[in-house]
């Protein structure tokens, strides 16, 4: 066996008691509530929490605080809610179906695929309207998700984390250099693209949330359906077949869910990395190996993390703002490195 190719992954195999899991879910829900409240209250114009509640329940059109909360921060918070949940659930599914601890929409190039589609649209068709750009991100994300899945599952034996991560990085490098090629020949594209690509909840992309809701919803339903099949498949493909799981349907469902969720998330907020990587690891530590429980917990923890990152980005460089995509990369990279350092090589 070629030395370092086989890499193992410490994962919990003991079942976490139901009471402890409920406790964790309640805790995550509280954290999400706190993050959502902070997302409404904190910013260049701080609004006290009592005022926030009043703005939500009994809005007064004359009060500027209420206008800030309802017109600016509420849409942004709702976008963060949907995007965070979608990315985290997609991450759980990707890690389960590829049996790979490093699967993440950002790291595996799904975001780069969406970006490439957007650049092509700006360049070839001169589209600058963010709401329409959002829809173009969709097929790009889907194509790369399918490709990554094919790469991760094809070949003899399961893909090692190294193989999958290198394939994702190579795809990303390829797409990024093609993007650069377009941007160099066309400065107008560069100007539109450089703001789209950082990933932000604040932009006019928030307008596109409502038409995307069916994609988020369908993705969530598919995710829950696929999760129970993935549980059986965790024992190995043969065991899953023996338990009555149709592997083809399970994989197609997972892929569909990932495409819908990632595509909608990228469409709503631009490419945001590391949420899909970090949250699944956190929830697996709390909830144990049950994929369904992990999907539920990720749907709470993902938006909590994303909203917290967004709030942090608003206060970290005072007059301006750091976009949430940058913040998640800054928070996520150290956790990624920690995960890699904890992985061990299985003896050859």
């Amino acid at each position: 066996m070629a030395g370092a190719a086989r890499i193992g992954w410490r994962r919990g195999t003991t079942r976490t008691p139901a009471g402890a899991r409920l406790g964790w879910l309640a805790l995550l829900a509280l954290a999400l509530l706190a993050a959502a409240l902070a997302a409404l209250a904190v910013g260049a114009r701080p609004v006290p929490p009592g005022e926030v509640l009043q703005a939500l329940l009994a809005p007064d059109p004359g009060n500027p605080d209420h206008t800030v909360v309802r017109a600016l921060r509420l849409p942004r918070m709702l976008t963060g809610l949907a995007v965070g949940a979608a990315l985290a659930v997609a991450g759980v599914l990707m890690q389960a179906v590829t049996r790979n601890p490093l699967a993440d929409p950002g790291l595996l190039g799904v975001n780069a695929g969406a970006s490439f589609a957007v650049v092509l649209a700006i360049w070839l068709f001169g589209i600058t309207d963010p709401a329409r750009l959002a829809w173009i991100a969709f097929p790009g994300a889907g194509a790369v998700a399918a490709l990554v899945y094919a790469l991760g599952s094809a070949g003899r034996g399961a893909a090692t984390p190294l193989r999958l991560a290198l394939a994702g990085a190579a795809l990303t490098a390829l797409l990024l250099s093609l993007i650069t090629a377009v941007l160099l020949t066309n400065q107008q594209s560069l100007d539109t693209y450089r703001y789209w690509v950082v990933g932000s909840l604040a932009g006019p992309q928030g307008l596109a949330l409502a038409p995307l809701l069916p994609a988020f919803g369908l993705g969530a339903v598919l995710a829950l359906w696929a999760a129970s099949a993935l549980n059986a498949a965790a024992l190995g493909d043969e065991a899953a077949v023996a338990l009555g799981v149709r592997l083809g349907w399970m994989r197609a469902g997972t892929l569909g869910a990932v495409t819908l969720l990632c595509g909608a998330a990228v469409a709503a907020a631009g490419p945001i990395g590391f949420v899909g990587l970090v949250v699944p690891h956190l929830v697996r530590a709390a909830m144990g190996p049950d994929t369904r429980a992990c999907v539920l917990a990720a749907a709470l923890a993902g938006p909590a993390l994303l909203l917290a990152a967004d709030v942090l980005g608003r206060v970290i460089l005072p007059p301006g703002e750091v976009q949430v995509g940058i913040m998640t990369a800054l928070i996520g990279a150290p956790i990624f490195i920690l995960i890699v350092r904890r992985m061990r090589v299985l003896a050859p």
Partner: protein, 344 residues
């Protein structure tokens, strides 16, 4: 005498040199290709010259400014930088035993990019200070990746994975700074991040030649050790290879060579990545194929520069675009075939 079939054995007095025949022939062929490309690049362009005119211009005839001051330095910079990239890629691929590894994935390129974009956007830098900023950024990033990956010695898979993760964070920094600057500095930064040979002078040639002269022989000296390491760690150790020292030296040389290349030509995409496997294929060698990789890298960069000057004639595209366009289909082919074979 003929104990090594398929090898050329040269003996003179007490010194003998054993060369694999196919590899020697491949190097000869690549050198010829490189010469032809360089001559074509001297002659073609906005100001075309016949071969006779090029010859005259080299010795001070008409058009000597174009040939001596504009074309010759950029071609030589391309040759040396391409060789540096090729060697750098072949070293890291041989160590990682994976044709997908390249200096881009150990964080160096992203670090260099961040250093350069900081210099361009925040300080409006150009010229030597830009070069220094990019080198510092790249070396710091590589050092950080190395330190983070160190855990009872250096493991290449951990180095690659941590390099990937840190690279993503550094790239996020680049994207952040791009939104902070005005459109002009964003365009300048994009230009730099692509890598090109435009407006290179003899100073660049000197830098690249010095770097290659210092680091190249050391890299080539690693070749036999890398070939033994490919047999597996135990086998290599029992043959007398000091695996830990070799890994460290290989990674260091790879980073430094890549640094020389980035310093003179910018982070040209895919040259380091493609040159290694392509060189090995041309030379049909089982070893790391360092010399063929260096020559292939030089050919690729000079060819990409030539294509960038000719194909969309009044516009001069940076070489980095064409290396990406050549490299991309190869990458997809590699992913498709190697993964199907389960060889990756």
């Amino acid at each position: 005498m003929s104990a090594a079939p398929g090898h050329l054995v040269l003996r003179r007095g007490g010194v003998s040199l054993r060369l694999p025949r196919r590899e020697a022939l491949a190097c000869l062929g690549l050198t010829l290709t490189l010469t032809v490309l360089a001559l074509a690049s001297l002659a073609l362009g906005d100001y075309p010259l016949s071969p006779g005119e090029v010859w005259a211009a080299l010795w001070g005839g008409e058009g000597h400014f174009v040939v001596q001051q504009l074309r010759a330095p950029r071609i030589l910079t391309g040759v040396f930088a391409g060789a540096c990239f090729g060697l750098s890629g072949a070293l890291i691929q041989s160590l990682a035993r994976n044709p997908l590894a390249s200096p881009d994935v150990i964080g160096f390129t992203q670090g260099a990019g961040l250093g350069a974009v900081v210099a361009i956007v925040l300080y409006g830098a150009s010229g030597p200070s830009l070069l220094l900023a990019s080198l510092t950024g790249g070396l710091l990033a590589a050092l950080l990746v190395g330190l983070l990956a160190w855990q009872n010695g250096l493991r290449i898979w951990r180095l690659v994975l941590i390099g990937l993760g840190l690279g993503f964070a550094l790239h996020a920094g680049v994207e952040f700074l791009m939104t902070r600057g005005d459109l002009m500095s964003a365009a300048a930064a994009t230009q730099w991040l692509t890598g090109s040979l435009n407006a290179r002078g003899w100073g660049h040639v000197g830098t690249a030649a010095l770097g290659l002269a210092l680091l190249g022989p050391a890299a080539l000296a690693c070749g036999p050790g890398l070939a033994r390491l490919a047999l597996g760690e135990e086998a290599a150790a029992s043959l007398g290879t000091r695996c830990g020292a070799l890994r460290l030296a290989g990674v260091l040389l790879s980073v430094l060579l890549s640094g020389v290349g980035v310093a003179v030509a910018g982070p040209v995409a895919f040259v380091a990545f493609v040159a290694g496997p392509l060189g090995r294929r041309i030379a049909d060698t089982a070893g790391p194929g360092l010399l063929p990789a260096a020559l292939t890298g030089a050919c690729l960069l000079v060819a990409a520069d030539l294509a960038g000057r000719l194909l969309m004639a009044p516009i001069q595209l940076p070489a980095g675009i064409f290396t990406a366009v050549f490299g991309a289909p190869y990458l997809l082919w590699l992913l498709a075939t190697q993964i199907r074979k389960g060889a990756l």
